[in-house]
């Protein structure tokens, strides 16, 4: 719970979240979403909840990103906003 590391990773999380909803390419959105999930996993590991961090690493940064890319593969890649 070192405060400097906490603030740094929280800032990265907020930047990733704003970027993930602003890009116009859905594949870039999927990758940024995976990065956001991974930063969240780091944050929980810093706070000491290792079980939740393990689950989020395997589910959020793993399988959820694969589902997202599979869905983008079957629909369109561009978005208007």
């Amino acid at each position: 719970m070192i405060p400097q590391l906490d603030i740094f990773i929280l800032t990265l999380v907020i930047v990733c979240a704003i970027a993930a909803i602003s890009v116009k390419d859905l594949l870039g959105c999927a990758i940024l979403f995976g990065a956001y999930s991974f930063m969240m996993c780091l944050l929980w590991a810093i706070m000491g909840s290792v079980d939740v961090a393990f689950t989020e690493a395997s589910v959020g940064a793993g399988v959820s990103t694969v589902f997202f890319v599979a869905a983008v593969f079957r629909t369109t890649r561009r978005t208007k906003d």
């Binding site: 929280l10 907020i14 000491g48 939740v52 978005t79 208007k80 906003d81």
Partner: protein, 131 residues
């Protein structure tokens, strides 16, 4: 001034989690594309999970795996040494439910694309009215 800094240092974490929740809520309401709405929903869910997990945190405590020799003899297990495991359990269920809803929502998005050939909300409403 000292009281203000003391107050800010104790609470700034909660403020940042609320900002993250509001980013997710804004994406759910204001974006047109269905998949962007889904991403906003997921950001909202993980921000809430972050808030709950941070409630159980204690300064100077270690992870909630009790050591082997801790309960033996006359030493009682000091509760302030271990962080609170109850929010972690509730949030494990929440993460699993969130990935389930994400999977079903993506299946629905693929089905909508098959029918209307677009994923933007205003175009779908227009094509619904034409029929």
């Amino acid at each position: 001034m000292e009281a203000l800094i003391h107050h800010v240092v104790g609470k700034y974490n909660y403020w940042l989690y609320i900002i993250l929740m509001m980013i997710g809520l804004y994406a759910m309401i204001a974006k047109n594309n269905l998949i962007k709405k889904l991403v906003g929903m997921n950001i909202f869910q993980t921000a809430i999970i972050l808030f709950y997990v941070s409630i159980g945190c204690k300064k100077g405590a270690t992870i909630p795996i009790i050591e082997e020799h801790a309960g033996m003899g006359e030493h009682a297990i000091r509760v302030a040494d271990y962080i609170n495991p109850l929010p972690h359990v509730l949030m494990l269920t929440a993460i699993v439910v969130s990935v389930s809803t994400f999977g079903v929502a993506l299946a629905l998005a693929v089905k909508i694309y098959q029918q209307y050939k677009t994923l933007e909300e205003d175009e779908i409403l227009m094509r619904l009215r034409e029929k």
